[in-house]
């Protein structure tokens, strides 16, 4: 019989192991979330990240090795973004009827997202380099990293801040909106998509399809708005 350690040495270096474990971690996290009745605190993205992170730390596996397997899942972010066209077309009449509220909310939300995070962090003594990395935290990782890099921030740090913002918004949105008795799912979805990009959109789809559709639109629009806004707003820093 082969030494189990040599099997581990082989497996831990293959994309197969890390891809399979990522899917298993997600299935388990999703089952936990469902068992908790989709409670906002039992966020499946957060649970799966925590579980995979713990496995990497426990086995001393470098992130680079992990990502060689997980990249196949990561790659699907692009086609999944394109796929938001489907619910958009399906709810076309509703989207058309809400064009003006969406544009007004986009402008107000995009400015708030950038200004508030930079203002609070600056007041708490965070240095400028990190402020630049913080500014685009509400937009999807690919765009946020490009914005951060162009302005002298750290793209790797921005990616982490983007995910953290995504999980925070996804956890907060449902209790916050329920407490305020906001029942307009188009507005709720738009707010969480703008604030928390794809992770917020994933949460919105789990709650309501209309909310998910508007979240997807907000994610796309805010990616563009923030890319245009951040260079302008950072001039005043």
């Amino acid at each position: 019989m082969t030494n189990p350690f040599s099997i581990w040495v082989y497996l831990s270096a293959t994309p197969l192991l890390w891809l399979a474990l990522t899917l298993l971690a997600w299935i388990a996290a999703d089952a936990i979330s469902r068992a908790c009745g989709r409670h906002p605190l039992a966020n499946p993205v957060l649970i799966a990240i925590a579980a995979m992170g713990a496995v990497l730390v426990a086995t001393g596996t470098p992130y680079k090795t992990y990502f060689e397997g997980a990249q196949f899942v990561h790659f699907l972010l692009g086609p999944a973004t394109v796929a938001i066209a489907v619910p958009l077309v399906r709810h076309l009449a509703l989207v058309r009827a809400n064009i003006l509220p969406m544009l007004a909310a986009l402008l107000a939300g995009a400015v708030t997202a950038v200004v508030s995070v930079v203002a609070v962090a600056a007041a708490l003594g965070v240095p400028r380099e990190i402020l630049v990395s913080l500014a685009p935290k509400s937009v999807t990782a690919g765009i946020a990293m490009a914005i951060s890099e162009n302005l002298g921030g750290r793209p790797a740090l921005t990616a982490v801040l983007v995910i953290a913002t995504g999980v925070m918004g996804a956890v907060i949105v449902t209790p916050l909106m329920n407490a305020l008795r906001i029942r307009d799912y188009a507005a709720r979805g738009f707010a969480v998509g703008l604030t928390s990009h794809g992770i917020g959109t994933a949460r919105a789809f789990a709650v309501d399809e209309i909310a998910g559709t508007f979240a997807g639109i907000a994610m796309g629009l805010n990616g563009v708005a923030t890319a245009l806004l951040v260079p302008l707003l950072l001039r005043w820093l």
């Binding site: 990522t22 997600w26 394109v82 077309v89 399906r90 809400n98 907060i172 990616g223």
Partner: protein, 131 residues
């Protein structure tokens, strides 16, 4: 499944080429999204189909499968947090506070502006034809 996946990838591909060629700040997949939406609406107009029937097409089924597990797609990037934690270092608490305040504030501003403008339009009789 495969033709639908190919359609999604081709839309993204055109989007990436378009945004790079013109140096736009818009990400490729977002252009791809717009392209697919316009294409699907035109297709529905030409064939006389209802746009709401899109979910029963092969594209609709594939899109729903992808969007139904959207959260999974963020796990690989999120696991990177393990590697980045030392970078944040002594500013962790300040950054956490800033993100929390900003997240709540952005949610509130966005949702209330949306609802306020929607109500303002609904009250304007000149715009009744739009509804």
């Amino acid at each position: 499944m495969i033709p639908a996946l190919a359609l999604l990838l081709v839309c993204q591909l055109i989007g990436e080429v378009f945004t790079r060629a013109l140096g736009l700040p818009v990400p490729g997949p977002v252009i791809g999204l717009a392209l697919l939406a316009v294409g699907a609406i035109l297709h529905a107009r030409l064939t006389g189909a209802q746009t709401s029937a899109i979910e029963q097409t092969r594209l609709g089924v594939t899109a729903q499968a992808l969007l139904g597990s959207l959260g999974l797609l963020f796990v690989p990037a999120g696991v990177g947090i393990v590697q980045q934690l030392p970078l944040i270092g002594s500013y962790a608490l300040a950054i956490f506070a800033a993100l929390l305040v900003s997240t709540v504030l952005t949610l509130l501003v966005t949702v209330y502006v949306f609802i306020f403008v929607k109500r303002a339009i609904a009250r304007d009789p000149a715009d009744e034809r739009a509804s």
